[in-house]
Symmetry: none
Subunit: 266 residues, 2 copies
DNA sequence: GAAATTTTATGATTGACATTGATTGATTTG
DNA sequence: CAAATCAATCAATGTCAATCATAAAATTTC
C-alpha cells in the first residue's frame, strides 16, 4: 500500500472515530506501527489531523461547541444594541397569545428576551430560540423537524412533508444579510431553504434588519421587496434607503434607541 | 477507552448535572478512580470544568446564564448508576456511524454520555437529548418536529406527516414505566403517542429498563412483549423475570455494574 | 542499455517515557 | 468517630523516539 493510500485511509478513519489508535490503523492499512506513526506525524504538520497520544483525532471546530457557551459565535453578535431595539419593536407588534413564526438568525434571536414575559405560540426553525424560550418563558414552543445544522443553528428537513406545512400564523419574523432594491439578500443557501419553507405559512412578513444591512450585498436573493410587509430597522437608516423602502410599499418602523424609548406595552 | 474519549464523556456528564461524582464517571468510562481524578485535574487546569470534592462541576455560571439547566427533575434521576450501566450497554450495541432512533426518557437520556465520543446519526423526539448531543458531541442530530412539551421533555407533532416517517434505522432505543407479561407499560398518554410514532421506523426495538421496572405496573399498555427484540436491564433482575423475558423470545442483556465491567469495545 | 550506487520508504529492535490501576495512609466531611 | 474522598507511590502495561537493517526505486556510471 502506497503512502498516499495510507494517508487516505487514516484520514477517513479519523473522521469516523473520535480517536483512531495506532494499532487500529495498523490493522486497517497493514503497515507497521513505525510507519503509521510517521504518517500521523506528517499529517499532523500538514494540519490534516491532530496527533494525540495513542493515535490521532480529527482536527477541526471545537469538539464541544456547547462549552463555548453562546448559541452564536461572538462576531455574529455585532450591533447588539441596535438588534435588541429592533427585536423589541418586533415583539411590540405581537399581541398576547398570538401565534407567530420566527425564522432563525442572530437578529431574530434577540426577540427571545422581550418574549420572555409573554405567552405566545411560537413556531421556529431555530434551535437556540426554541431552547431559550423553553427555559426562560412560558410561551408555547413549536419546532420544525429535521437535521439540526450546528453552524447555522437551524433545523431543516430535507423533505417537504414536515410540520411546517401545518402551522399558520399572521406574522412571520425574519432577518437577512442585506437589503437592496433587488430584494432581500441572504448569504447561506441553507438559510434560504429554511426561510423559503416558512415564508408561505404567514400573511405578513416582518423583516428585522439593522441599518448596516443596507450596505451589505450578498449573492443570493431570497425574495423581492414587494413580498415584505413590514421592515424594522434602527435609527442609522439613511433618507435614501428609507425612501426606497417606502417606495416598495413597505411599512417602515424605526426602532428608537433604548434611551429614548417609551414603554409601548400596556 | 482513550484519554480523549474519557475527557469527552466527562465533559458531557458535567454538562448535564451540576456535579458529576468520581464513581459515577468511573461507571461511565470504565476507568479507575485514580484515572478519573487525573482526568478531572487535567481538565481543571485546562479550565474546561471546575474540580470539587467528590467530583467535578461545569465551569462558569451556566452556558446560558440564569437558565434552569437540568433537563429532568432531580427525582427523575433515581437508580442513576443502573441507568448509566444500561445506557452504556445500549450504546455498545451501535456501530460507529450507524443511524439510530432514541425515544425520549430518563434512561435513554443517559445514552448521551457514551454517545459523546461517537459520530452516529441520531434521530430523537427528545429535546434534551438533541440539545446535549449537539453541544457535547459530533454526532449528526435530527429532531422530530412539533410541539415541545415541557413536562415530558419531548417533541410531538399532532399531525401524521412529519419527518418521522422519513427516517429509518435498524435499531430504536426506548424506555418504559413498567414491564409485565401483558406487555410494555407506560404511564403518560403523550409518551405513548410519541413512542407509537417512532416504533414503526426501526427493525429492532431495544428496551432499556432498570430492574425496578419489573415491579411497576401502569395503566397503559404500549405494546406486547413480542414486539421487543432486545431488553437491557441491570443485575437486580430476578430469575422469574428473566425467565419471562426469555420465554417471550427477547434477547436479554444484563448490564454489569461498573466495578465488574470489562471493556467490550475493541 | 546494464550494472552499480544512492536515495527513499519501510519494518524491527531497544531503551526511555507516559499512562494506568491498585494499594496505602492522610485528610476531609457529616 | 466512621465513612468517604483524596494524594502519593509503585508496578505493569502501553506508547514513543531513535537507530539500524533491508528492500524497492531512482539515479548515476560505464
Amino acid at each position: 500500500m502506497h503512502e498516499r493510500e495510507r494517508h487516505g485511509v487514516i484520514l477517513s478513519a479519523v473522521q469516523e472515530r473520535p480517536v483512531a489508535s495506532v494499532v487500529e490503523l495498523c490493522g486497517l492499512t497493514g503497515a507497521s506501527e513505525a510507519t503509521i506513526r510517521r504518517d500521523i506525524a506528517a499529517l499532523h504538520v500538514a494540519k490534516k489531523l491532530r496527533r494525540v497520544r495513542g493515535g490521532a483525532e480529527a482536527i477541526g471546530p471545537n469538539p464541544f461547541p456547547g462549552l463555548a457557551g453562546r448559541p452564536f459565535a461572538v462576531n455574529e453578535t455585532r450591533n447588539i444594541k441596535q438588534k435588541q431595539a429592533i427585536a423589541r419593536a418586533a415583539v411590540d407588534l405581537v399581541e398576547e397569545g398570538e401565534p407567530i413564526i420566527i425564522n432563525g438568525g442572530t437578529t431574530t434571536f434577540q426577540m427571545v428576551h422581550p418574549l420572555a414575559t409573554r405567552r405566545c405560540q411560537v413556531f421556529t426553525n431555530s434551535f437556540p430560540i426554541a431552547e431559550h424560550l423553553l427555559k426562560t418563558s412560558k410561551n408555547s414552543v413549536l419546532i420544525s423537524g429535521g437535521v439540526i445544522y450546528r453552524e447555522q443553528n437551524i433545523v431543516l428537513s430535507p423533505f417537504d412533508n414536515d410540520v411546517t406545512r401545518n402551522f399558520y400564523a399572521r406574522r412571520m419574523f425574519m432577518g437577512a444579510q442585506g437589503v437592496a432594491p433587488l430584494g432581500v439578500m441572504e448569504a447561506d443557501p441553507l438559510l434560504i431553504q429554511a426561510e423559503q419553507k416558512l415564508i408561505g405559512q404567514a400573511d405578513e412578513l416582518v423583516l428585522l434588519v439593522d441599518s448596516t444591512k443596507f450596505k451589505h450585498r450578498s449573492s443570493l436573493v431570497l425574495c423581492s421587496l414587494d413580498r415584505i410587509d413590514v421592515m424594522i430597522t434602527d435609527e442609522g437608516i439613511g433618507d435614501r434607503e428609507a425612501a426606497m423602502i417606502e417606495a416598495a410599499d413597505i411599512k417602515l418602523i424605526v426602532a428608537p434607541s433604548s434611551a429614548a424609548r417609551e414603554d409601548v406595552a400596556s
